[in-house]
Amino acid sequence: MTSQMLDVSLHERRRDRRMQDPQYRAAYEQAARELAQTDAVIRQLDSLRVDLGISKAELARRVNRNASSVRRLFTASQVRPELPLVAALADALGAELRVVPRSTEARRAVREHDRTRRVADTG
């Protein structure tokens, strides 16, 4: 038995150190936002499925897919979920996908980011 726990804080310390670079922080935060959106969509679909008492196999039948493809989707065993499949699953669960604009402030930040990047590209 190992009597002393290993130090597992390296990742956090390295990330905190790298986040002091504004470019790194911006890339991290952008990636985190994108990941969170995809994760939320897939988890909401799975939650809807559970609430409706529909098995993954049954859901797959309803969208004319293999059961394994739906199972892989909900357990992150498959990368890059296909939007058509995601839309079909939403429809089969009586739901729909929507794109909701963020706040005015968030959109202003996107425009500012684009402007900064154009200046950097031409400079």
Binding site: M1, L10, H11, R18, D21, Y24, Y28, A32, D39, V79
Partner: protein
């Protein structure tokens, strides 16, 4: 040693089986017996924005570990000869393909304590990059297989990057 031989793992066990499954996982980096940490060397060599994306995926998966969907579709269970491994797949500048290879350190509290881990962890093993095309499965298998053969049953965790980078 194959990853499958490295002791019990239960990323897909029934929920509530162990309190550890409800908590965020740790992220640890495999340190070879010679002291090198291939995954950190790989990340340090990546463009900063790519490093940031890998880190964000690791954090997302650690916050909502398997079997939940997380990682935004960039975290994938590998198959075939790489069964038991997970990879993060990113495309960098110039369509460069970048991969980060991981194992899951899961088990009961006692099993984890024997490995020196306070809770389940994503063990980041190594990474690969290839300009303008997919990483060859045979090359991937070879690179990870040679590392896997060196991984002992006791997790080795790098803890002091400051020393390594001087």
């Amino acid at each position: 040693m194959s990853p499958r031989d490295r002791g019990p793992r239960r990323p897909h066990g029934p929920p509530g089986q162990d309190a550890n499954e409800q908590l965020p996982w740790s992220i640890v980096y495999y340190q070879a017996p010679d002291g090198t940490v291939a995954a950190l060397e790989f990340l340090d060599g990546c463009p900063g924005t790519v490093d940031a994306q890998f880190t964000a995926v690791l954090d997302a998966v650690a916050a909502a570990p398997p079997p939940r969907f997380s990682g935004g579709g960039k975290w994938e269970a590998m198959h075939g000869t790489m069964g038991g491994w997970y990879e993060i797949r990113l495309t960098g500048p110039g369509r460069e393909q970048l991969r980060l290879f991981c194992l899951l350190e899961n088990g009961t509290s006692d099993e984890l304590a024997r490995r020196g881990l306070p809770r389940p962890a994503i063990a980041v093993i190594t990474g690969m990059r290839k300009p303008g095309g997919p990483c060859s499965p045979s090359v991937t298998t070879s690179a990870c297989g040679s590392l896997a053969s060196n991984i002992s049953r006791t997790t080795r965790v790098a803890s002091r990057p400051e020393r390594r980078s001087g």
